[in-house]
Every structure is written in structure tokens, then in C-alpha cells.
């Protein structure tokens, strides 16, 4: 548990340092005339300090998942991110129907106890709902099939 907090603090520190490096490349300006780099640099400083405090002092254990929980979530993570990526790839190329059906099919793998028939049916139902809402309802400028 404690080690997770040290890792979390370390990540904050790292984020702060990267942000500081990027912010230094911009004009910082003066207090009365702040440049674009001023606030990012200040944020980076704060983030570094908080990161150190978390690593040294924080004993919080809320939300820190056990390895078993993480393992069970990895499958859902892969399915969901896969579905989002598939959507981003297809939406400009394949049209609304294949995009929604395929991405729903990919997302259905987030659930374990579901049959293949159910997956296919679910994807078809979701595609129909999407056509109704986004094509006929909101008139989204995406063709049903094709680019």
C-alpha cells in the first residue's frame, strides 16, 4: 500500500518535471506582465512539491486496487480501448453502420459471461439505436455505409 503511494508521488513529481521543462521553453514574463509560460511553470512547481509530499507522507489506501482486481479490469480495459480505437479508425472510412456495430461488438468483450449469439445480437441492436439517434435524429454528417 505504502509503496503504491510512493509510486503515485513519484509519478506526480515526474509529471511536474516534464511540465516544467516544457514550460521553460516559453516566455515566462514578469509578475505584472505574465507570459504564456508563467502559469504552467507555477503549476509544475506545485505538482513537484505535492508529489514529494505524497511519496513521503501519504498513507491513503482508498481506491488502491488489489492485483486480482487489476487483473479482472485489464480485460475490460482492453475491450473498451479497443472499441474506442476501432471507432476512431472506422468513423471517417467505413460509415455509421459498420462503425457502431463493430465497436459495440468489441466493447462487448468487456463482459465475460455472455454468449456469442448475445454479443452479435447486442451489436446489431446498438447499431440500430445509433442509426435512429445519430443519423435520423441528430443528422450527424456521416454516411450510413462508406466514406
Amino acid at each position: 500500500m505504502i509503496r503504491m503511494n510512493q509510486l503515485a508521488g513519484g509519478l506526480c513529481l515526474l509529471a511536474g518535471l516534464v511540465l516544467a521543462a516544457l514550460a521553460m521553453a516559453m516566455p515566462v514574463g514578469s509578475l505584472s506582465r505574465m507570459g504564456p509560460g508563467f502559469l504552467p511553470l507555477a503549476i509544475a512547481g506545485g505538482l513537484c512539491m505535492i508529489g514529494v509530499c505524497i511519496a513521503l507522507f501519504d498513507r491513503d489506501a482508498t481506491g488502491i486496487a488489489r492485483p486480482a482486481e487489476i487483473r479482472s479490469q485489464l480485460r475490460a480495459l482492453a475491450a473498451v480501448l479497443g472499441a474506442v480505437a476501432l471507432f476512431a479508425l472506422l468513423v471517417d472510412r467505413a460509415g455509421l453502420v459498420p462503425t457502431s456495430a463493430l465497436s459495440a461488438f468489441a466493447a462487448s468483450f468487456a463482459m465475460r459471461d455472455i454468449s456469442w449469439t448475445a454479443r452479435v445480437t447486442l451489436s446489431a441492436v446498438i447499431a440500430v439505436i445509433c442509426i435512429a439517434i445519430f443519423h435520423f435524429g441528430l443528422r450527424l454528417p456521416v454516411p450510413l455505409i462508406g466514406a
Binding site: M4, N5, A8, C12, A15, G16, L19, P27, S30, L31, S32, P36, L39, P40, I43, L47, I50, G51, C53, I54, F57, D58, R59, D60, A61, T62, G63, I64, A65, E69, S72, Q73, R75, A76, L77, L81, A83, V84, A85, F87, A88, L89, V91, D92, S100, S103, A104, A107, S108, A110, M111, D113, L122, S123, I126, C130, I133, F134, L138, L140
Partner: protein, 495 residues
């Protein structure tokens, strides 16, 4: 504008066919989301956000606000019947609501919480109407330095007060502020952190961020939980009728709860969940039978549900009168207004009286809808709890993708959505809460603008943050909260 003129204008706006329809849709979605454990108000509102851009701004806020207070009503249903809080603030309703169900009085508990919700909402709404003008007037006299301090206080309070680690909350605020700086700097026109990507010049997409942090990561976490076979039947209308003694015991706690909730709801960063716990503790202290609490005390559920709903209404006070959201849900609604081209602030009520009063009347209407949805139609929601609702998750993912895509019509926002979803999931592994991040992201540009103007006016002198009573006390509060956040774990280690 007087109360009578305001209300009659509000009735014209809120009772238009479109606004009534969207008010009903909002509370319907809200109740649905509230009843189902695992999906919260933030996820629901961020999913509906892109759709709301197709609407007139008043209608959009009527819809989003309806989802917000609808979830609070619905959240207590699963808490009472199944001991599963549908939303975090319903955790208090479990304490006495579930014991009442086990004693066969679940129907009575549902009836009383709905009544308490209605009473709390109406008293909170009265406070909103009563104080809004006065606080807008104060808002007009505030300097950029005061606005900077007020917003900073809101951020620090949102990070430090809720449960979990205050240090991690602060870290999230800073990450959110950093994300808020992405895009073209308004004052200098320079592109910051865009890495040559043209889609980032307008900043990170609020819709992609909110849906990534709340929609995507909630689906990941919830869909991997073992499936619960919940059954909650046997609530008939007849079983919901409370006894005269129930009503007598519940009346004063409802009123006190509304007061406590109204006060805490209007404060930045505190919100309904804390108001629930405090009003519950107050009732337990005041009660002549404190031993009944936790075993089905009517006072407990009445006070906490009234506090919860009152807090939701008064949370609109700082948001609509100063443009300073107290929590992430409010921030999201203000973000929606900004995207519609309306700047929330002290001039909002004067410049958009139709929106303000229309919202007020729509809240009354929405609460009436909620009473109908939660008492005569309660059976529908109970059936909903017993169907395998996780079939919705793939649909939610596809809707979220469409939402991110539809705002600007480009696939880049969908990629951003995926990346932010992965980030949100990773943050949750380390116990980082995403809500302060969202608040920092939305308030960031406003904080920077006010800081810049404040220091420009004072020619770089930090004395402008401590030069009168208000700014001194705000600065002192910020310092105390930050010190508490840092020292709490240090002192806790010794104790």
C-alpha cells in the same frame, strides 16, 4: 426583477413544450442512472453533454440539471432496498433505509425519502431565489484578485475536504490546471503544449475529458465487477403509506436537513455527501432515542435525503451568480454554458433573466415529476434493478464515442477520449479522484485570466491578495486548507 415578474417569466420559459419535455427527459435519465449502481451523475451528464449542444442553452441546462437532481432522488432507491448506494451521497440512506426494508417497511422508507427529497429541494430552491440577487450584487464589486482567490479556494476545498487523500486531490487539481493550459493562450496568442497538432489549438475537448474520466473508466471498473442478481420486489403503493407517527418523527429532521444541506451546498467544494453525514450526525445527537439510529430510524433517512437535495439546489447559487462552480457536476454545467457562448458570472441573472427564472421554475416542475416517478411509478424502477443492466455497457461506450466525435466532427477527439479514459483508469488505481481534475481543467483558464489581470492592476505586487478584509480571509482560508492537506497525513502518522 421582482419575484412575481421573475416567476411569471420563468413560467413562460419553463412551461414551453420543449422545456417541459427536456425537463422530464432529464429527471427520467437521472432517476435511471441514480437507481442503477455504478454509473453516477458525472458520467451521465458528460454523456449527454455533446447532445445538449444541439439544444438552446436554457433547454440544455434544464436537461443537464434534471439529470443532476434526478440522480439524487434515484440514488436512495437501491440504497434502501438493496443496501447499494446508487450514488455516493446515498450511502447515508443505507444506514437506516436498509434496516427498514428488512423490517418490511421499505415502501415507507421510499415514500419518506421521496417526500424528504421534495421538501429539501423546495427549501433549497427558495434559498437560491432569495440569495441569488444579493450575491450577484456582491459579485459585481469583486476585483480580479478576489475572483482569483475565490476560485482557488473552491479548487483547494474540492480537493481537500471530500473523503480520500487531500494531497492526491490537490495533485489532481494541478493536473487539471495543467490540462486547462493546453491550446492558444488568450492573452499572448501563443500555442501551448499543442505539439503541432492543429486540433489542440482550441484546447483539449471538455467532452472528451469528462467522458474519458467518468464514462470510460466507470464502465471499465463496473463491467468487470461480478454480476449481482438483485431482486427487489414486493413494494406496493399500499405498503408505502407511512403512519402518522412516521410523519411526525420525520417532519423536523426534514426541515433541519434542508437547512444544513442548503448551507453546505452553497459552499465551494463541500457538497451533498458531506451535508448528508453532518445532518445525520446532528439528528442522532438531537434524538431522544439515538440507539434507534442504524436500525431503521425515520429521522435518519429524512434528514439525510432532505440535506442532499437541498444542497443540490443551493449549489447553483455560486455557479449562477459568481460563475464559480462548487463541484465537478456544476463545473461541467458551466462548461456547457461557456461552450454555448454564455459567460456565467454576476451579470448572468440580469442579462439572461429568462434562463435564470426558467431554470427555477423547471426545478419545481422537475421535482414534481420526480415525486410521480418515485411514488406511483416506483415499480418500474424496481423491475429495472432485477434485469441484467450490464448489457448497457457496450452501448454506453459506443454512445460516448459518438458524443466525442459529434462535437467537432473529427476522429482526433475520439482518440483523445480513449487516451483520457486510460488515464482515468490508471489514476483510479492509485487512489486519485478524477473530480478535482475536471474542476481544475474548467476553472484553470478563468483562474489564469484573473491572476493575470490582478497582477497587472497591482503592477506585480502580491499585496493585492491581502489588501482588504475579504481577500485576507480568503487567502487565510486557502493557506489553512493547504496546510491541513499537507499536515493531516504527517500528524496522522504520529497519532
Amino acid at each position: 426583477m421582482g419575484l412575481i415578474d421573475g416567476l411569471s417569466l420563468g413560467i413562460d420559459v419553463a412551461l414551453s413544450r420543449v422545456n417541459v419535455a427536456y425537463c422530464f427527459l432529464g429527471v427520467l435519465i437521472g432517476t435511471f442512472v441514480g437507481v442503477i449502481p455504478g454509473v453516477g451523475a458525472l458520467a451521465a451528464i458528460s454523456m449527454i453533454l455533446p447532445l445538449s449542444f444541439y439544444l438552446d442553452p436554457t433547454t440544455a441546462i434544464v436537461l443537464l440539471a434534471g439529470i443532476y437532481y434526478g440522480t439524487v432522488y434515484g440514488g436512495s432507491t437501491a440504497a434502501i432496498l438493496l443496501n447499494l448506494p446508487g450514488v455516493p451521497s446515498a450511502a447515508v440512506a443505507c444506514l437506516d433505509g436498509y434496516p427498514m426494508t428488512r423490517q418490511g417497511r421499505g415502501g415507507v422508507a421510499l415514500f419518506l425519502t421521496t417526500m424528504a427529497s421534495f421538501v429539501g429541494s423546495m427549501l433549497g430552491l427558495a434559498a437560491l431565489v432569495f440569495f441569488a440577487d444579493a450575491i450577484s450584487d456582491i459579485g459585481l464589486s469583486l476585483r480580479p484578485a478576489d475572483y482569483f482567490l475565490l476560485m482557488t479556494l473552491g479548487l483547494v476545498a474540492a480537493a481537500a475536504i471530500p473523503t480520500g487523500s487531500p494531497l492526491k486531490g490537490l495533485a489532481m487539481v494541478f493536473i487539471g490546471l495543467a490540462m486547462g493550459t493546453v491550446g492558444t493562450d488568450i492573452a499572448t496568442g501563443m500555442a501551448r503544449f499543442t505539439f503541432g497538432v492543429p486540433e489542440l489549438l482550441d484546447g483539449l475537448s471538455l467532452v472528451a475529458l469528462a467522458m474519458g474520466l467518468f464514462g470510460i473508466s466507470e464502465v471499465i471498473v463496473t463491467s468487470s465487477l461480478p454480476r449481482r442478481r438483485a431482486s427487489a420486489g414486493g413494494i406496493t403503493l399500499r405498503s408505502m403509506i407511512p403512519t402518522r407517527q412516521d410523519l411526525r418523527e420525520g417532519a423536523m429532521p426534514m426541515a433541519r436537513g434542508a437547512g444544513i444541506g442548503g448551507l453546505f451546498g452553497a459552499l465551494p467544494g463541500v457538497g451533498g455527501t458531506i451535508a448528508c453525514f453532518i445532518s445525520y450526525a446532528v439528528e442522532k445527537r438531537l434524538s431522544r432515542h439515538p440507539e434507534k439510529f442504524g436500525h431503521g430510524a425515520v429521522e435518519g433517512i429524512c434528514a439525510s435525503e432532505s440535506a442532499n437535495n437541498s444542497a443540490v439546489q443551493t449549489a447553483f447559487i455560486p455557479s449562477l451568480t459568481l460563475g464559480i462552480p462548487g463541484d465537478a457536476v456544476m463545473a461541467l454545467m458551466l462548461g456547457a454554458l461557456i461552450i454555448h457562448g454564455i459567460t456565467p458570472g454576476p451579470l448572468l441573472i440580469e442579462q439572461q433573466p429568462g434562463m435564470f427564472w426558467g431554470l427555477v421554475v423547471s426545478f419545481i416542475l422537475g421535482n414534481i415529476f420526480l415525486v410521480i416517478l418515485n411514488i406511483p411509478l416506483i415499480g418500474i424502477w424496481l423491475k429495472l434493478l432485477s434485469i441484467p443492466y450490464h448489457f448497457m455497457f457496450p452501448a454506453i461506450i459506443v454512445f460516448i464515442c459518438f458524443g466525442a466525435f459529434s462535437v467537432n466532427g473529427n476522429a482526433f477527439d475520439v482518440w483523445a477520449l480513449g487516451a483520457l479514459g486510460a488515464l482515468g483508469w490508471m489514476l483510479s488505481l492509485f487512489g486519485f479522484q478524477p473530480a478535482p481534475l475536471l474542476l481544475g481543467f474548467i476553472l484553470g483558464p478563468m483562474i489564469e485570466e484573473n491572476l493575470r489581470r490582478a497582477l497587472q492592476l497591482s503592477r506585480g505586487d502580491f499585496g493585492t491578495f491581502v489588501n482588504d478584509g475579504l481577500s485576507v480571509s480568503l487567502t487565510a482560508l486557502i493557506v489553512v486548507l493547504v496546510l491541513l492537506a499537507v499536515l493531516k497525513p504527517v500528524l496522522g502518522r504520529r497519532g
